[in-house]
Amino acid sequence: MRKFFAEKVQLSKGMKAALIASVAFHLGVLIIGTVGLPYITKPPNIPQQPLAVEIVDISEITTTNKKPQKAPPKPKNEPPPKVEKEVKAPPKVEAKKPPKVKPIEKPPEPPKEETKKPEPKTPPPPSEKLAEVKPEPKPKKEKKEEDKKEATVSEEDFLSVLKNLQDTEPTGEVNPEGDEKTDPDQSPLAKFSERLSATEVDLIARNLNMQFASCWNLMAGARNAEDITVTINLTVRPDRTVQSAKIVDQWRYTQDTFYRAAADTALRAINHPNCEVLDLPEDKYNLWKDLTFNFNPSAQL
């Protein structure tokens, strides 16, 4: 009997602790549900924008990513045939023995963000010489506002880069998902817009797209180029220059030559002189000091 009561008392203590924990947990959930979670860092600047004051053509902005329906641009490069004149007919036509190939070593380089491929064997002399080379410090990314203006492009540049002489016939080319992909409501930007106005987010996206249209060289004609999206995380300085750019999918960068080539075009775009100073609102550094760019050419291919 005594033993029974002792167990009963012990059980009551355990239940009490559990009850307290349960009440505290539910209270916590209730409080979070009622007043919301606190921000660890500085809360984002949530602009209060009365709708009546907004003087922006929403429809124009929100369709900036849509694939234009106009005719493709005129061929930029259809030069006359250019072939060397001295076409000689040497007696030998047999396939010659291929030259011996030796990969040469990559010289040591300063640490970079991109993962490097394992290097082939190397002849020491050239690599030793090149190993002494110190990479030039990257030029300061100071850019004037005039340069920024040069980054803007005409609407013609937004058209498909693949030529098609037959626009009138149905070809099944139109990707029904194309518009969905660029629907602002479905994009990550839409989530962010919970703290930024949709117009502001659209404006940033539009400005950056306009800017990068003159910096990003598309891989038109490459296999499945339209299916490759390269995601790059950027750290941006207050002067809107890029401090660091890191390709998110490093594994694919080292394994997939097509992805690597596409990622390199994106990195070259970020390093392009016309895009050194990003077209971002200067007064909202906290909102864009960490940026993610998704380079996706599907709208143009």
């Binding site: 979670l37 072939v83 090149l130 016939e169 099944g172 994009s187 596409a262």
Partner: protein
């Protein structure tokens, strides 16, 4: 209490992560990559011409691809020897708007043969992208230039190159009423041109083997069209099979051991498969319509061909054993000469519509038809081994409409960068080789 703190922290993490601004960059441009191709540093005067000629060939190859813009060497500040000793001074190359830099050295190897090294640099990231060294006999130096071009192309685009290749075609000369057609071959840049067959033999539709130095083609030797094999290394010609009728439009299987061709018998054309090793043949189509111009998919599982079985000349895809034929083109006009891309994603074809000829591409499922060039007469597309460039021929009228002149052209898959190839005489029916072994 620690548990609750942790829980709250975990719940807050998505909010923190969500706060990062994400932007979809969807607009770009189609522009050649500015590339500086420096003269190579010459460490041995006996090969001094290579130090100039190899970079020049590389620049020509890359420029013709339409993807690169080799910069004028006169604008280069840093000398080749300085690059070798000090490494690239990227600031100087960036100042002339170069985004990539090619440097190299030519020297005499330990075996006395020329040894050529090259390095490709990314000017913005200041990294070496690729570096290779080659040695060969002096008379083979042009191939080194083509192989270097392929390496640069591959590293920048992600796709294998097509510069170390050859093109076989039909050389045409003489008046229209007495046309002389000969089999000829040349490097993809027009160099090393040579005739393979004599002038008195009418030949058509040469096709390269994807695996060997062999060509299959149609010859009217003996009066009737027959399909032959030609070994480039030995010069030996061989009649392909003993078919009871006229055979034409041959094309190799991806494995190189089989050929599909058309056999015309009793006014009907059907597609046959011929095994080169066992010399056995198999009929693949039995339709009363005209089935011709077969071409294998790169995996060998399907064959695309043209047929009028539906009332008009259209493209069909069937399984490699001849079953499950399905039509893939439904547009206006007539479709002919389908060729499956080596990378499998597209089929090139000739289209005739409203008195004009077109070269187009379409996906194997029949979607995405795109016409990329047009002329009074343009025909016979053939893919580069990387599936990025097409070669074909165009005919233009001459002498006030009395004569015709044919020329071989190349065009990028995008439909831009169309270029005419220089040949000693008229040229038609080009066929691109695989990469040289």
């Amino acid at each position: 209490m620690r548990f609750f703190s942790l829980l709250i922290l975990i719940l807050m993490m998505p909010l923190t992560a969500q706060a990062q601004l994400t932007v979809d960059i969807t607009q770009g441009k189609l522009e050649e990559l500015p590339i500086a191709i420096s003269k190579f540093d010459n460490e041995d005067t006996s090969y001094s011409n290579y130090a100039v000629d190899i970079p020049a060939i590389v620049a020509g190859n890359l420029q013709r691809s339409g993807l690169f813009d080799p910069l004028n060497p006169n604008s280069f500040i840093q000398s080749p020897s300085s690059i070798t000793v000090d490494g690239p001074r990227f600031g100087e190359w960036r100042a002339i708007n170069a985004q990539a830099l090619v440097s190299g050295t030519v020297k005499r190897g330990a075996d006395g043969k020329p040894r050529v090294e090259f390095r490709l640099w990314d000017v913005f990231s200041q990294q070496q992208l690729v570096g290779m060294a080659y040695s060969t006999t002096p008379d083979n130096w042009r191939r080194i230039a083509h192989i270097i071009s392929d390496e640069i192309y591959k590293r920048i685009t992600g796709e294998s190159g097509y510069f170390d290749t050859r093109i076989v075609y039909i050389s045409e000369s003489g008046p229209a009423t007495n046309r002389i057609k000969r089999l000829a071959i040349m490097d993809q840049d027009g160099k090393n041109h040579r005739y393979l067959t004599p002038a008195g033999e009418l030949v058509l539709t040469p096709r390269f083997s994807p695996t060997a130095q062999e060509i299959t083609y149609t010859s009217y030797k003996g009066g009737k069209p027959k399909v032959y094999l030609y070994n480039i290394d030995t010069g030996r010609q061989q009649l392909l099979g003993t078919f009871p009728g006229m055979t034409f439009a041959p094309r190799f299987a991806p494995t190189g051991d089989k050929v599909v061709l058309s056999l015309s018998k009793n006014g009907n054309s059907d597609i046959y498969e011929y095994d080169i090793r066992s010399k056995s043949q198999r009929q693949l189509t039995t339709n009363p319509g005209i089935d011709t111009a077969p071409s294998y998919s790169p995996d060998g599982r399907n064959i695309v061909f043209e047929s009028d079985r539906g009332g008009s000349q259209q493209l069909y895809v069937m399984d490699a054993n001849g079953s499950n034929a399905r039509r893939i083109t439904f547009g206006k006009g007539r479709y002919a000469n389908p060729v499956w891309s080596p990378r499998g994603d597209l089929i090139a074809f000739t289209k005739m519509l409203s008195g004009q000829f077109y070269i187009g591409v379409i996906r194997p499922d029949g979607s995405g038809e795109r016409l990329i060039t047009q002329a009074f007469h343009v025909e016979g597309p053939s893919w580069s081994p990387n599936g990025r460039v097409l070669t074909y021929f165009k005919e233009a009228s001459t002498q006030g409409g009395k004569g015709r002149s044919a020329s071989v052209y190349t065009i990028d898959l995008t439909g831009y960068n169309e270029r005419r190839m220089g040949t000693p005489a008229g040229a038609s029916d080009p066929a691109w080789s695989p990469l040289n072994p």
